[in-house]
Amino acid sequence: MLELIEGYYAYFFLILLFLIGLYGMMIKRNLMKKIFGMSIVQTSVILFWITSAFKENATVTVFDPGIGLENPDLYLNPLPHTLMLTAIVVAVVTLGVSFALIIAIYRNYGTLDEPRLLERTR
């Protein structure tokens, strides 16, 4: 039981986080809240990838002459880290664009509440 928790707790927390973000995007009516949900979803996915790079008793991905390069088990897996740098950038830029859209919506309608927007767009 303890092993199960130790091995898998991160996945369960992260999937829970993903579902929380999904709930924010689907149920919340304020567009700003939808964006927060979106960013939570993205963070949970990023953390999931980082978890996939983790190795027990391994050190960070900077070359250390004292350890050497022969045994890759002594360093963390650098590939997911690299990919997630890109993913974070993408997340930030998406946030920027969505703020631009929100401001454009507010300019046109003066509200960010989804039911009211649906009313006014009719």
């Binding site: 900077v62 740098l85 950038v89 830029v93 920027g96 703020f99 631009a100 401001i103």
Partner: protein
């Protein structure tokens, strides 16, 4: 904030902080080969310093620090530095973005890669910094 902040505390703090953040940004960018950091983080820090200046000094004054109209041009130029490095390697006979073939004289392959990484990271820094400033400027609407 289109107008300068009225509080003297903010003014003084921003004046002190902006150059420090810029230096840290440059350090992060150049030291990316040895410690965590690199083009993107350096770019964000440099952008943050200018955003701080815009927040505290007001849009009008901080235009002198970095004019809003030129952001997109520099953004395109930064990406062009990156892509142009790749193209140079392609034209010199290698694969796209293969830094071993960069036309820089008198360097070992490993050193060439080292320099190639530095060149493209500078492109990334320029693009990230100017793009973030551009997004800020458009959101604030100047």
């Amino acid at each position: 904030m289109k107008t300068p902040s009225g509080s003297p505390i903010i003014q003084v703090a921003a004046r002190g902080l902006v150059p420090v953040i810029q230096i840290i940004g440059l350090y992060v960018f150049f030291h990316g080969h040895y410690s965590p950091g690199g083009g993107f983080q350096g770019g964000v820090l440099l952008a943050a310093s200018i955003l701080l200046a815009r927040l505290s000094l007001g849009t009008e004054v901080s235009q002198l620090l970095f004019p809003a109209r030129k952001t997109i041009i520099f953004s395109a130029l930064g990406a062009l530095i990156f892509a142009g490095t790749g193209l140079a390697a392609l034209l010199a006979g290698g694969h796209f973005l293969n830094y071993e073939f960069l036309p820089l004289p008198g360097l070992e392959p490993a050193e060439l890669r080292n320099w190639g990484i530095l060149i493209i990271e500078s492109g990334v820094t320029l693009t990230v910094m100017t793009s973030l400033i551009a997004i800020y400027d458009e959101i604030i609407g100047c």
